[in-house]
């Protein structure tokens, strides 16, 4: 029982790291980016390939996955995404679906369609058990590691957004782009760096999640809906909204699969529809600001 809760939290944290970049882009630019999963896949594949082919240690791969995905994100933002910021949503949806299809097919072409196995280092393989009986808490070391990394990242993100100069510029640009630009904030640079960091985080999440979620070329399509749920339910105006939504989703998904495997993903999808019909702007929203 506690074990399920624990696994759910680990899963939720992972989803949060994967989706937080998306939350920022959507909140920022009102841009519907369905290709976010592709960046996560890039990060995951960087890790897997570096470890398999070059024997790079796991811990080194994580920052590399972050940097790789962030660079890719920056390049794509500058070249492809920026012209689309003010296009209708239909265009954005089509564009990002196209990008996703391309990413899926190219990974399939270059790496192959089989699922990639990630060999974890020994110190992450074990499992610690506390207590006994119904209240036994079994913690996989790797999941513990995921929670620790993600919690650290969340705190860091919250700090950057709330306390630093960059964070206040970012919030200003989100609230009203024109006024922010009028105040001398270079909105383009703010967006570029935010997009890059968001993609990098997705890459990092993909690297961390390669073992838990499974890494194959259909990854962006399979998890697209999960990222979108996190963002749509959590709202895009803060960082705590998506975090809570991700934790909720993670726990609900793990518990649902454990207790009622017959129902599978129903619970998650139905819950999402109910929440969205009830609160179309997401569960945790601030009233002020521009939508």
């Amino acid at each position: 029982m506690l074990t399920i809760l624990f696994d759910g939290v680990a899963y939720g944290m992972l989803l949060f790291i994967l989706a937080v970049g998306l939350a920022v882009t959507m909140g920022l630019m009102n841009f519907i980016n369905l290709a976010h999963g592709a960046f996560a896949m890039v990060g995951g594949y960087i890790t897997v390939l570096l470890m398999q082919r070059l024997g790079v240690p796991f811990l080194w791969c994580l920052p590399l996955a972050f940097v790789g995905a962030a660079l890719l994100g920056a390049v794509l933002e500058r070249t492809l995404y920026r012209p689309l910021y003010h296009k209708p949503h239909l265009d954005q949806v089509l564009f990002s679906i196209g990008l996703t299809f391309m990413a899926v097919a190219s990974v399939d072409y270059f790496v192959g369609s089989s699922q990639q196995i990630l060999q974890l280092p020994d110190w992450l393989k074990g499992r610690t058990e506390l207590g006994q009986g119904a209240w036994m808490l079994g913690m996989g070391h790797y999941r513990l590691f995921i929670i620790a990394v993600c919690a650290a990242l969340t705190v860091a993100l919250q700090y950057v957004l709330a306390r630093t100069r960059f964070g206040s510029r970012l919030r200003a640009s989100v609230d009203d782009q024109r006024v922010a630009a009028g105040l001398g904030i270079n909105v383009n640079v703010v967006f570029l760096s935010t997009f890059a960091v968001g993609s990098g985080l997705a890459g990092l999440g993909g690297a961390l999640g390669a073992e838990v979620l499974g890494m194959d070329p259909s990854f962006p399509l399979k998890f697209m809906i999960y990222f979108l749920i996190v963002v749509a339910v959590g709202g895009t105006s803060s960082i705590t909204g998506p975090l809570l939504a991700a934790l909720l989703l993670g726990i609900a998904d793990v518990a649902g699969k454990y207790y009622i495997p017959k129902l599978g993903a129903f619970i998650v999808y139905s819950l999402m529809i109910v929440i969205l019909v009830w609160r179309p702007q997401g569960l945790f929203v601030r009233q002020a600001g521009k939508a």
Binding site: L80, V93, L94, F101, Y109, I225, L228, I273, V277
Partner: protein, 325 residues
Amino acid sequence: MNLADTALLRASRWRWWEVLLWLAALAAPWLLPSHALIVNEIAILALFAISLDLILGYSGIVSLGHAAFFGMGAYSAALFAKLVMPDPLLGLAVGIVSATLLGAVCSVTVLRGTDLTRLMVTLGVALILMELANKLDWLTGGADGLQGVVMGPLLGRFEFDLGGQTAAAYSLGVLLVLFVLLRRMVSSPFGATLKAIRDNRLRAMAIGIPVGRRLAVAYTVAAGMAGAAGALLAQTTGFASLDVFEFHRSADVMLVLVIGGVGWLYGGVAGALVFKLMQDTLSSITPQYWTFWIGLFLVVLVLVGRERLVRPWTWFRGGTHGGKS
């Protein structure tokens, strides 16, 4: 009759080239008997695309889950043929009715919220139905698909043959009937209010159009037509699988519509023609990776600007940077 009336009526009058086009289309199964199968697929895709056009092009609802209704129609028609009776027209009616009911229920969900919310909700509905079809394996055959659907002869006379001539003629006939109905509908005052809602919801509300009700009706009708397309697919292939609910089906149909042009009924038909031929060529060159080229096409299409694609005379106007709007 005042000026506005004549202008509206003129736009809805049938042109001579439309009649010619449909005559050519209906003759296609006999003129190209060896390609009857692909004619059938094109007709089904065209029907699916024009049903999406009603909600995307005429009502401005971005939906990523239109496959839900397509699949609903496909499964209910296939189940009806397998369990009740194999008459195709009755099966088609069952498919349409079930998809319409589903659409009526789901229409509640698309009335509120932003584009993102609607996207998610429509996608979610398609995923839920896919899970249902997957998990109810005693009824639907689960991941193996629903097999052993045998169709009776059309109108009690024409057997479905292997070459697909009957199937193609049947699908084209249904497409024509529904197209005429839809064409009538979008050029009626009802269609005009839909366009008003799409262009400016607030103003539409202010001049007294019941926005929610109109959108709900449009969504339901579109769902029924998508169900008809699904039913046609299941009947002419004698098979229904989870594939009908897949995400790529919703994405493909959106692409079809965008290729042909949104908010124009022939857009769906033209798009279906181009898309199927493109898919056929690409998948014969690279069977496994043709999605890459479809993706590339989408990206280029959006960057160039999709209005410009269907209007070649604007390509060389206004410099090299596409889509400044």
